[in-house]
């Protein structure tokens, strides 16, 4: 048993980030989800939070974090993973985008075995329970990503947004935020990535002004390609 505990400690140590933040100030309802937690807890001032924690604010709430020489304020109706509050280089951004592409590539055909060797559950239970389709958390995480960009961490903002799109697929239909992060890609000179993103956005239900904007961006990127 001692050995087992030792191994677990080793694993914990290897994954514990040096990046920790202190809650400097908070107002309203702010919750935290620590690494191993499955549900939210109220966050209190002067608490130390680790990198694998997620912080979420309700309406009319905010929290100010300080650590690693940075200060970051999470505004109302937002959520952020502490590990995303970091400065990234463009190279790191490119790596992260490539990683997202790999993750989003369908796996090769696996076994089509049914999930059960015996049938468990009742008919009533087989009817899927109602699930909150568009998670409020997805929206909050996108808001958090935008605030990263506003605080100069644009690369990290893009990576966070991509991760949110993957974990909360409904957020991909949010054309406004999609355009926002596609613009960040353009701004960073990642024209191919921006082109892919704007092309994907074009297939969403867009307002006429959004449509005009997206088409304009695609033309602009096309010209950049020509110049290159």
């Amino acid at each position: 048993m001692k050995k087992l505990i030792f191994i677990n400690i080793l694993i914990f140590l290897s994954i514990t980030y040096a990046q920790t933040f202190q809650i400097e100030k908070l107002s309203g309802s702010v919750k935290i989800l620590n690494g191993s937690d499955n549900s939210w807890h109220e966050l209190k001032a002067n608490t130390m939070v680790e990198s694998n924690a997620i912080i979420s604010t309700d309406k009319n709430s905010f929290v100010k974090l300080k650590g690693n020489g940075k200060s970051f304020t999470l505004k109302e109706s937002s959520a952020i993973s502490i590990s995303n509050i970091k400065q990234m280089s463009v190279d790191e951004l490119l790596l992260a985008l490539a990683m997202e592409n790999i993750i989003n590539t369908p796996r090769k055909k696996g076994n089509d075995k049914s999930g059960s060797t015996a049938v468990y559950g009742t008919d009533e239970q087989k009817k899927e329970v109602e699930i909150n389709k568009l998670s409020d958390m997805g929206r909050k995480r996108l808001n958090g990503a935008k605030q990263l960009a506003e605080n100069g961490m644009k690369e990290s903002a893009i990576v966070t947004a991509m991760e949110v799109y993957r974990k909360y697929p409904e957020t991909k239909k949010n054309s406004e935020s999609r355009i926002y992060f596609a613009d960040l890609l353009f701004e960073k000179g990642l024209y191919e990535e921006a082109h892919d993103e704007f092309s994907s956005i074009k297939s969403l239900q867009l307002s006429s002004s959004q449509k005009t904007y997206v088409e304009g961006k695609l033309d602009q990127i096309g010209k950049k390609f020509l110049i290159k």
Binding site: I11, Y17, S36, S39, S83, R107, G115, G121, N132
Partner: protein, 655 residues
Amino acid sequence: MVSVIRISAQTTFGLNGVWGITDASFTSLNSYEYNPSNFSTIKDLGFSLTYGSELSDNLTSNLYQISVGKSFKNHFISMRYTPGYQKEFIFKSGEAVTYGNSNPIKLESRFQYKEFLGLGYSYRFSPNFSLGFNVRFFNQNFVQEILTPVFSDTIYFTTETEEDDANFWKADIGFVWRPLDEFYLNAASVNLFTVNNRTNLQSNEKYRLKTDKALLLGATFNPFKDLNINLIYESTNSFQTELLKFVDIGNNKIGVGISTFHDHEQNPFLAGILSSAIFSSKLFDISLTWLNYFSNRNILSSYNDFAAKSISNIIHNRFSFDKLLLTANFKLNTQVEQRVKFVDVTINQSIYPALAEKYIDAPIATARVVNLTDEKINIKPAVLINGINKDKIQSQDYFIMPFDTSDINFYTIIPESYYNTNPVISYANFYLITVNDEYDDELQKAILINGINAWDGNVYNLKYFIKKDLSFSANYSKEILALNKSVLDTAIYSLVDFYKAKIIYDTYVKNLTYTSDPRATAEYVQYPKETIEVKGGDCDDLSVCFSSLLESIGIETALVDYNADPNLKHVSIMFNTKLSPEQANLITENDTKYFIRKNDKGIDEVWLPVETTSLIDFDTAWSIGAKKFQSEGIDNLGLIKGDVEIVDISSDLKR
């Protein structure tokens, strides 16, 4: 008066117009004169016969020789029957003798020399060196008529016949050495051993075949393809040279040979010329040879000349006539001629019996092979590993262009029955097969066969351990699930796979402890059944076991290989809950605790990382696994840097 009434054919002069020591040589079968060392290029069985005519005033034709030769691996034996190797000298007194009341008497002396047969043996020590000998049997028959006085009332003479038979054996040894591909050297004795070459009558000694000891030295040079320059020197101060050229006609060859010789017993200095025309095919060779002496042979010679020097070669002496000879050689090869050979074989990897299926796709060895022929050849590579295979395992065919060299791979099959837990050094026999089941070349190499639990350290190959005990795992998992039927019956249908994994984990870890590898040359991995029976294991064993338990009941798993630090490699697993991202909050609100992956149809599914060395309970193992994966795989970009790798198991098991 002396008259030679019959001559026939025989130290180093033979009746072949083509006599160089080469791969295409005629001499290898039928000429102990040129080839005392019995060198041969015959692969299996060969026959030869020579028929010819003496171009004297009285045209005579003879079957000179019939030969047979047979190869047994590196041994070659030959036998030659030589009915036409004989020469007879008959001398008659010029005038009749009349004495007293006797009838006129003419006296006759007859000296006959024959070679009956010969035997040869040689052994090829290497492709470039051969040593051998030959033994030949000769007969000499000397018959002389003499006058015997009879004393009675008157003295008269009668004719009596004195006959002297002298048989003898002689033996010679020699070798052929090929220091360069295009250069042969050979050396041999001449008359090294002679047994019983004595006449009964002292007076006949001077007539016997001369068997003075000498040394033969020969060289054959191939400066260009199908061009031979041959030289033989005999220490009696005789020599012979030849120029031989072939040209290709389809799959056959035709050639011409011009040879001239100097014999210390004959005049002029260059005593004659041998001209040959040759046709050579795969199955037989034919040569037509004209032996022309420069001196006039159709003259009478004296008894005194004969008696003074005798002869040393039955078929080639100062009394021999020009000859026209037809020689046919038949190459009746029943053995497969070597068409390809190994240059070398490189063992790519030691054998891990646990990874049996891997060897169907991954070659255990690669050989460099050369095509020895002028044809495109289809090669079937095969290998037999002692201790693993009972029969040769044949790999895919390869084609190699004429005289080309190519790399070919060898694959093997490990039988499921192999269950040796200890590593052993064994031998692999590699074969190159081109026709039927006969192999052209064989090469043996040592190979390490690891124990059944050995693993090469490649996480991808852990699937073979997972797959091995699937039926055991299925029974084990079903037993656990049956005991928890009530929990599963009341669970939300979408969460059934999640609960199954949780229940199985929580149940099976109760009796497990973490134990590290017994250190060995190769990593040691337990099969799932062994892990459960010995109640513990290291990260490889525990990941293999839990993956097997889930896979056996239809839950997809993947191994997660953490390899950022080569000194601290680690493996754990993740499994597919089959939940959609929207359903993830049914199990957790913490989106860092799961990983979204698209299935083959592009549908997002929720996967949960589990740290299998955490033997407390499922929730702890999940939390630890998720943290580590999120940190090293996602936040540190390990999935793109190659520090973290996901190895799917299900898709491979389906194969």
